[in-house]
Amino acid sequence: MSAVTVYVPRDSAALAVGADEVAAALQAECARRGLALNLVRNGSRGMFWLETLVEVATPQGRVAYGPVEADDVPALLDAGLLSGAAHALCHGVTEQIPYLAKQERLTFARMGITDPLSIADYEAHEGFAGLRAALSLQPEAIVQQVLDSGLRGRGGAAFPTGIKWKTVAAAQAAQKYVVCNADEGDSGTFSDRMTMEGDPFMLIEGMTIAALAVGATRGYVYIRSEYPDAIATMNEAVARATAAGYLGDDVLGSGRAFHLTIRKAAGAYVCGEETAMLESLEGKRGIVRAKPPLPAIEGLFGQPTVINNVISFASVPLILARGAAFYRDYGVGRSRGTLPMQLAGNIKHGGLVEKAFGVTLRELMFDFGGGSATGRPIKTAQVGGPLGTYLPESQWDLPLDYEAYAAVGAVVGHGGIVVHDDSADLSKLARYAMEFCAIESCGKCTPCRIGSTRGVEVIAKIMAPPSPKTNKPQQVQLLRDLCDTMVNGSLCAMGGMTPYPVLSALNHFPQDFGLATPDREAA
């Protein structure tokens, strides 16, 4: 009997619920029974409520079982796991699970399907097709493809990627750099982590294309220290890509050099801000730089530097492989293409949902997410990380695109969606937003460094039981004034956007602050 191929993910969200133990149990139990097993450690499909998701290759396609614990393995084998037989944990053919079938996976097309560190597997699934296409083009033509695709920065700022590249390409310098911002610190986001752990060659390919487009020969990936598995996988992927000739002095025999280095961050949220990240890469405290000069002109070590988020780079290979129009045809308005969104927090079916822009929060939270994990009514979701707003139900039907969200003062950010049920206290979450800013502020500008601490104090006063000494309306006004100063006076988004969650909580959920009437003076 030939060996049956079984997939057990190596994504850290699977490891955190015992995937290694499941893999070990499968190997031990199959060996004991004399069953031939070909175990592949794939990336995650992004259906985290089903992790550990074990898949078995069958003539009908890959069949999914989950969530599997190590203790379940003997019973699953008894039931005929290796032939894809029925079982209480069986979900049928993986591709037909509605959560996956309803998605538009462009960037995440390979995610969970391939062995992340197999170059052969990557190539068999359209890998490096974009790089090969780029090598046949002049640098200006590569930039034009990215411009035409409508791709905008997926880190959160949504700046057109092609324009950034064009600026760096036009700059004259002996040394240029390509830097990937993989300091994915926003709570509720994990698409960068999944990419680095589950499809690392895609990021390497995207960065190499950027290097060809702008004339850079050196690159860095700055990865947060909270992601040790991503760091290890990226290091191994860079080594393998270099050995195979995709990186190094002579990329695929083109005579063009590109050397890539993985750098480990050290737990400072503000280093996700691009200039603070550059300082950190230079070996300094991660303090925000004043702009201008733009990093595209004077970036790393003072040289012209392309800085993009993991997902921005990861979107590029497909654009080059299939053409700008293919990507641009997805999406709405000025938000083109797809966004890998992340459903997190109090959600029944949390995970990665890649859809074209234009999907609504309600569809994401209910059609995909299945409502709250606790079964209680959903009260709100914070979209766009710790600096994003809390959206009340009246905003759940907005199309998720950069402009529609900006019109109501909300942000799409990096696509993280943190769901809260009706037990959430928005005054507490608002105070937390200020606390987090106080902990993570780099300290360079006063509105952020001092304003955040004053913000914690003012919100605490508003939350305190009423007493003759506290004048609540006055404190609320003080908080609004403070937020105004932070929004307009901070050097970067850390201080400048911390008021977003605070004010959205205050405006949409005044009852949580002990305020009777809705107060909608500011967005």
């Binding site: 850290s12 969200a13 490891l15 955190a16 619920v17 985290f48 409520w49 992790e51 994915e184 610190g185 926003d186 709570s187 509720g188 986001t189 994990f190 982590r193 220290s225 909270e226 992601y227 040790p228 750098r263 480990k264 961050a265 050290a266 737990g267 400072a268 949220y269 950190s280 890469l281 230079e282 070996g283 300094k284 405290r285 991660g286 070590f301 992340q342 459903l343 997190a344 927090g345 109090n346 959600i347 949390g350 995970g351 990665l352 994990a373 914070q382 710790p386 993280g416 943190v418 769901v419 809260h420 049920d421 959430a424 979450l429 937390y432 606390e435 987090f436 106080a438 902990i439 993570e440």
Partner: protein
Amino acid sequence: MNPTPASVTQAVLARHIGEPGALLPILHEVQDALGHIPREVVPQIAEGLNLSRAEVHGVVTYYHHFRAEAPGRHVVQVCRAEACQAMGSDALMAHAEHALGCHTHGGHGSTSADGRYTLNPVYCLGLCASSPAVVVNDKLHARMTPAKFDKVIGALGADA
């Protein structure tokens, strides 16, 4: 002969000679080898990189990941960010503080009086769809509950 902090640091510095912006990689390697970055190696690193002691000290103290003191024998991190809060991480942190004899304040952690545990808050482990999440001695655990937490801590066994 056991390697001393000075000899470990010397070897790390030698590996990074000539590398641009090498301070963070150097500090990571020193901390990985020694468990922390002892004050005594700061002048040595400064000299090796032609920086002032203040610059190196400034970097060590700026980043949450670097520590100047040796941690407890087991390091426990509990995620405090929004997604984990939505799934009860506040209560889990309170449970952890009680169970380990540590208390946290703001972004700061602490070590238990017997030196067995260091408990640190952490702000996002990227396991936000499987909240709440914790790390115990570099091993990730998701969908954590107080009962599961006690089991994981119990499995650490007695100190050698």
